[in-house]
């Protein structure tokens, strides 16, 4: 059963230095408050996993939390580059960042395999690209048809972290709208945290929703606004202006560090 605990306690107990950590969200329900808590608690040497690392990963990388990134597209959606990610890869600041990169389809197959506790995922892909020698992908022959396919190793994080709209009082979690790879992230991970907009006595059924029973989660934490600057469908809209503003804030190391100090380090879990 998931424990319903404050976010600082969930992160303190479940995220450890050196862990493989996936904070997932595909443009919607990105667990930014949880990422900020990881930064505040000073975690180091993390291997971060995500299809689409965006602002909160830029922040984790720029604050020196990450040793390695496993990903398929790292940018500021609709705006441009992630400057802290680029600075780490191009100049090793604040420390070098090892990369393992895939295509989205490869990452998706690897998460689905992880959720099933299978050793690898299968897809038709990677053939002929320069990604092949740079990443963990292997050719595989179908034992039934002889077709050549690609195998990618399953993603099995130590900790999976997601944000959802609601939990009930027993720690069951419900999310709806664009649900990305959040179900796979929780089911693939050894330990997991869901932050939520609100805790309700009982769920109303929602078409197309994903419900994660309390017993597949380690901890549930209340974090209203915890997806900002991304959005929580039915609660608040995407703060597109902030994505644009981040381009400027993150461009300069000192300005970035000052912003993080004011809006993340010196706060107590209030979403920036």
């Amino acid at each position: 059963m998931a424990k319903v605990v404050p976010l600082s306690e969930a992160v303190g107990e479940l995220v450890r230095d050196g862990d493989v950590v996936a904070l997932e969200g595909f443009t919607h329900l990105i667990p930014c408050a949880a990422g900020h808590e990881v930064i505040r608690q000073g975690r180091r040497d993390l291997t971060l996993v995500r299809l689409t690392p965006d602002i909160v990963y830029d922040q984790l990388i720029g604050m020196g939390c990450a040793r390695k990134l496993i990903f398929s597209w790292g940018g500021n959606p609709g705006v441009g580059s992630l400057h802290r990610f680029r600075d780490a890869v191009e100049h090793g600041w604040p420390q070098p960042l090892e990369l393992e990169e895939h295509s989205h389809a490869g990452m998706a197959a690897a998460y689905a395999a992880g959720a099933a506790h299978l050793p690898f995922g299968v897809l038709r892909g990677y053939d002929g690209t320069d990604l092949t020698p740079r990443t963990r992908v292997a050719p595989l022959t179908c034992p039934f048809t002889g077709e050549q396919v690609a195998a990618v190793p399953a993603i099995r994080p130590d900790v999976g972290i997601i944000h959802a709209q609601q939990a009930d009082e027993d720690g069951n979690v419900q999310l709806w709208g664009i649900t990305g790879v959040q179900k796979e992230t929780v089911l693939a991970s050894e330990r997991s945290i869901a932050t939520v907009e609100e805790i309700v006595p009982r769920f109303e059924p929602r078409p197309g929703s994903v419900v994660l029973p309390s017993w597949v989660l380690s901890a549930v934490s209340l974090a209203p606004g915890g997806a900002h600057p991304s959005y929580a469908h039915g609660y608040y809209d995407r703060d597109n202006a902030f994505y644009v503003a981040w381009d400027e804030i993150s461009r300069d190391r000192d300005q970035f560090t000052a912003w993080m100090r004011e809006h993340v380090l010196e706060t107590a879990g209030v979403p920036a």
Partner: protein, 241 residues
């Protein structure tokens, strides 16, 4: 006669015209999303727009800033998970047309969206492959949209993120349209936008571009196309974004 228009508007119109009504289309953010939504607003109202966030049949009023804006989910016929969109829908071959951008393209339509310079010591680290490799592989037609310059149209890619050879149907730029020659797969100048000279295209291409014997003269945007294009506002733009 049509009114004055910008080169980017011509590019969006030229790309939109290539989408037949009813096409099931995998759309990326930026220029492709603008073109696909223009098609839907003009000659192709039954176009099915699929964004890689899992929204199938999205009908946005505003151009989204990200592939997962809330409006896409609210207006979609259905929303599926990311593993599902890439396996059951894209890899299963249910999508007619894909649109891609890139930082570099070579003479065969292969694309780089990973790195400028050496992979281990990059000059510019770019976002990465994203959905592009499988979009190019599994859509029946793949359109590439790029602003034309010798920095983008290069002799040799710094990194091949996506194999376009034999897969790219057309490259639509702000100057022209390139299409692959059937025998060699090599891109050749096939259509010039109004007011553009062949020499301009050759200068903006980093390899010796082949020119089709019968280069078509593209048609300027119609007043209706321009009006529909300019009515497409970016989400959040009202807030100064």
């Amino acid at each position: 006669m049509s009114a004055a228009y910008a080169a980017d508007e011509m590019m969006a119109v030229a790309a939109a015209r290539r989408l037949a009504d009813g096409t099931v289309c995998f759309v990326g953010i930026g220029l492709p999303s603008r073109a696909a939504n223009l098609a839907r607003a003009t000659h192709a109202p039954e176009c099915v727009l699929i964004y890689e966030s899992g929204t199938i049949g999205a009908k946005p009023e505003h151009l989204p800033l990200s592939i997962g804006d809330g409006e896409l989910a609210e207006t979609a016929d259905t929303v599926v998970s990311v593993p599902e969109i890439f396996s059951y829908w894209l890899q299963a071959g249910r999508i007619d047309a894909g649109f891609l951008g890139a930082a570099q393209i070579d003479r065969y339509g292969n694309l780089n969206s990973t790195v400028i310079g050496d992979y281990d010591h990059p000059g510019v680290r770019l976002p990465g492959a994203g959905g592009a490799p499988e979009i190019a592989t599994f859509c029946r037609e793949t359109f590439v949209m790029l602003r034309h310059s010798a920095r983008t149209f290069v002799q040799e890619l710094d990194f091949c993120s996506t194999v376009g050879r034999g897969r790219v149907t057309a490259v639509v730029t702000d100057l022209c349209v390139l299409e692959p020659e059937p025998e060699s797969d090599e891109l050749a100048l096939a259509e010039l936008h109004p007011g553009v000279e062949v020499d301009q295209v050759l200068e903006a291409t980093g390899w010796k571009l082949r020119v089709n014997g019968d280069v078509r003269a593209g048609e300027a945007p119609t007043a209706d196309e321009l009006e529909a294009l300019r009515a497409l506002k970016v989400a959040g733009a009202e807030d100064g974004a």
